[in-house]
Symmetry: C2
Subunit: 206 residues, 2 copies
Amino acid sequence: MPPKDQGVTKTRLLDAALRVIRAQGYSATSVDDLCAAAGVTKGAFFHHFKSKEALGIAAADYFSAFADSVFAAAPYRQLKDPVDRLLGYVDFRRAILQGQLPDFTCLVGTMVQETYDTHPAIRDACNKSISDHAAMVEADIAQAMKARGIKAEWSAESLALYTQAVIQGAFILAKAKGGPQVAAECLDHLRRYLECIFHHPARKGQ
Amino acid sequence: MPPKDQGVTKTRLLDAALRVIRAQGYSATSVDDLCAAAGVTKGAFFHHFKSKEALGIAAADYFSAFADSVFAAAPYRQLKDPVDRLLGYVDFRRAILQGQLPDFTCLVGTMVQETYDTHPAIRDACNKSISDHAAMVEADIAQAMKARGIKAEWSAESLALYTQAVIQGAFILAKAKGGPQVAAECLDHLRRYLECIFHHPARKGQ
DNA sequence: ACACACATACCAACCAGTTGGTATGTGTCA
DNA sequence: TGACACATACCAACTGGTTGGTATGTGTGT
């Protein structure tokens, strides 16, 4: 019944990849692991992906598309003021630090550390994922700078990438310490920096 | 003559581990890879380390001790004012972003992402390495807060961990983008945040 | 003589990827 | 309508090579 099952097996493999690779890393995850987690056979795997590396690239794209949809639909996107949107982004990222670590950490941040030197194609896919997400943040930053009349030595792109560095680093610390609390506190510091830059009054109790 | 060669083979293996694991990651690095890079046999490896996991833990400790000595000997340590020392730390971290990526990135930040869920003993060693280094930064932060009479909602520990998150995240971005420039710009933003917190006049041209 | 620091040879389990095959669907032309 | 050619989706079994780890030597200094 191919029409009914169209793409189901492939999607099951990609969903499994997100879960398993975020928990174990790319190298430690075997094709058999993926197949077992997805409940499919090895033949099905290599029918949909020509190699493990191709699955890695596809997983990065899949993760990226999923993240795009989550942030596009997030409530903070509706805020009128670009500074509010920027701070809303940080608050939203803080709010989604829920559940187990493999549920909210970043697939591409994990993968790129393992593959940047040995699998250039995966590194490029991860870089595109991070850069595209940063570009979304950069748009709000550029508007915020214009709205507040801020002329700085740093670029909107540089600050957007900085937000991503904080988030990626916060995930590493969360993994090292076994929980998301340290990551939340990192996002609080990031928020404080942005408030400082955009002359925004700090929230009470923060 | 064992007295002369005392520890040489073990050290060669640990040095190789630093290089190879930072380039390929922990899981993708085989014991054979390590032996080849160190120029020793497998028998020697398992004479000094009872398992690959034990090597991972030893490598984290070895990296940690190396980092300790580098930072203890760094010129910024001689600065009298704790705020200068804190900013000096960031400047020093920025200055050592030299050479190839595996030369200056963080072994434990790389390893913990791959092992936090599957090798608790390695995760603990990585966590200790990060936390000990953060504690060194935290001491200067605590003194800086006292010197400037700063009472904040955040703790010195929280800010110290934030500096480590920025550094770890900067390494991920550097790997994704293939060079250290983005990491340097992240450290510039971190410096700006610290200047803001400690009411320090910004440097010109920054 | 004995412990230590290695080296050699080897193993079972696992690895990514291939094979030959089946079941099911789709487009086309008479 | 139906028969044929072809494509898609999948499967179980297999392959050559690699994995972490072990068992058993061997040379050397004390």
